[in-house]
């Protein structure tokens, strides 16, 4: 097992992502100051990361974002391959996602299949102006044409290595490790 990110590295990465999210707003033609960005975390750890990002943005520019969670369990393409998974709550912030920019947040980007499921789920909640993707770790090995707009750390891995993201809110420790 090898440490890849320590607690301080995670905080630094999220701070940078928060700045990048704010800066990127100008590039979305119809973004208006009155309509906040909608940050949606994918359970479990994506939700925690989304809340942290939203808290950082709030200190930089109050009112710029609202935060929620988007469960993708019901949209997965591998439901039949494993025992039934327990879904997690979906919370769409007040005002919905129609016409707004949505930033999806997840801990690790791997095959891209979770994000594919998330895009389907989003379509059932409304029609956003744009959908962006922020991840703490991009470990490669994509199986679908999906890429992240905001990346905490690019981490070249081999397919059989395991990436573990631990966050203080739900785990005893905080950090990202890689196990071969």
């Amino acid at each position: 097992m090898r440490d890849v990110l320590q607690a301080a590295d995670i905080t630094r990465a999220l701070t940078r992502i928060s700045h990048e999210i704010l800066e990127s707003r100008g590039s979305d033609a119809s973004d208006s100051a009155s309509s906040p960005l909608v940050i949606l975390g994918i359970p479990t750890r994506g939700v925690l990361l989304a809340r942290r990002i939203a808290a950082i943005v709030e200190t930089l520019e109050p009112g710029a974002v609202v935060v929620g969670s988007l469960d993708v369990t019901m949209y997965r393409d591998d439901l039949r391959a494993q025992p039934t998974r327990a879904p997690a709550p979906t919370v769409i912030p007040q005002g919905g996602i129609d016409g707004r920019t949505v930033v999806l947040v997840d801990d690790v980007l791997f095959s891209g299949r979770t994000i594919r499921a998330a895009l389907d789920a989003i379509a059932d909640h409304g029609r956003p102006q744009a959908v962006r993707l922020a991840v703490l770790v991009d470990r490669g090995h994509r199986e679908l044409p999906i890429r992240a707009d905001f990346v905490g750390k690019n981490l070249p891995t081999s397919r059989d290595e395991r990436i573990s993201v631990r966050l203080a809110e739900v785990d005893d420790t905080e950090g990202v490790t890689i196990t071969s």
Binding site: Q82, T84, D124
Partner: protein
């Protein structure tokens, strides 16, 4: 969980889990697209040997919200009425590729027979078997009570300390039986109020208190008052003199309704006999959960279908 046959064999953890998944399913109804792709290409069969509009429709809506294909196979107008046995019917449904069979039958134990028969590999959901059980009704009742009490903070909670009074024909009621087991498992205190003729003779092992005085039960206070339907179709003997007499002693009349605490829920599994076991005023009041029960029934049935059908075949191994 492979089948849902009764609430008696559900443990607390499983029951709370079903209610929690139903919370997520209830959220779907609030969205722009009220449909999930989860059970695409899965086939759910409604196999109803007994009349039912509400339960059958509720399962139908639930299956469709999950994108499953649904086949309504009712005994009337099918080869069942020509004498086809349950075995032949089951094997026919298996050959048609059914992934889940929702069965209602007038014989107690029919669902279990189907599940254990080996005639069909599908998940079996008991939608009411004789006077035995009706597990999804009890689950939706528990869900309704939990939501009324805990609101948005319902997830993960049981019904510890909640007082539920079930009134009416306990003897013939599968709704009452399923509720007794489930509510007790979830920590609620259950009291049965019924004419002596409509109470099972032997209540040994039932986690309840029983009596025949509705006014005493109301005076003691209760968090939920569940009025059972007087089932004309199962009343083959004279269990009480007249319906007026029944109503006077065991009906939720306007006068009794006025004596309830303002936060006592008034529940009824439907269809209601207004003026018999429940007055129109009680049924239409803000304390009535009747329409919530209908909406929650869809969420519960979605949750159960999801939990039984979504996983792969190997997941059951």
């Amino acid at each position: 969980m492979r089948h849902l046959l009764s609430t008696r064999d559900l443990d607390r953890e499983t029951a709370v889990h079903i209610l929690d998944v139903a919370e997520d399913m209830a959220e779907v109804a609030t969205r722009e697209v009220r449909k999930l792709p989860t059970l695409r290409d899965r086939t759910v069969v409604n196999l109803f040997f007994e009349d039912s509009t509400r339960t059958r429709t509720s399962f139908e809506v639930a299956a469709k919200r999950l994108s499953a294909d649904l086949i309504n196979f009712s005994a009337k107008g099918s080869s069942v009425s020509k004498g086809e046995s349950l075995k032949d019917t089951a094997q026919t449904l298996a050959a048609l590729g059914a992934d889940a069979v929702v069965i209602r039958h007038s014989s107690s134990g029919a669902a279990q027979t189907l599940a254990e028969s080996g005639w069909i590999d599908a998940a079996v959901l008991n939608a009411g078997d004789g006077t035995h059980e009706h597990p999804t009704q009890a689950l939706l009742d528990a869900f309704t009570i939990r939501r009324r009490i805990h609101g948005a903070g319902s997830r993960g909670r049981d019904l510890d300390g909640v007082r539920v009074t079930i009134v009416g024909d306990i003897l013939h009621s599968r709704v009452a039986r399923s509720n007794v087991w489930l509510l007790a498992t979830l920590g609620a205190g259950v009291r049965l109020v019924s004419p002596a003729t409509l109470l099972p003779a032997d209540l040994t092992g039932w986690p309840v208190t029983a009596g025949s005085d509705l006014d005493a039960a109301i005076a003691e206070g209760t968090d939920a008052l569940m009025m059972l339907r007087i089932q004309g179709e199962r009343m083959h003997a004279a269990y009480f003199p007249t319906t007026a007499e029944y109503s006077r002693h065991w009906g939720l009349t306007d006068e009794r309704f006025a004596r309830l605490a303002p936060d006592t829920m008034v529940m009824h599994p439907g269809p209601m006999n207004r003026g018999l076991e429940i007055s129109a005023r009680a049924a239409d009041s803000a304390q009535s959960t009747v329409l919530e029960q209908v909406a929650n029934g869809v969420s519960i049935r979605m949750a159960v279908l999801y939990l039984l059908v979504a996983g792969g075949a190997e997941a059951h191994a």
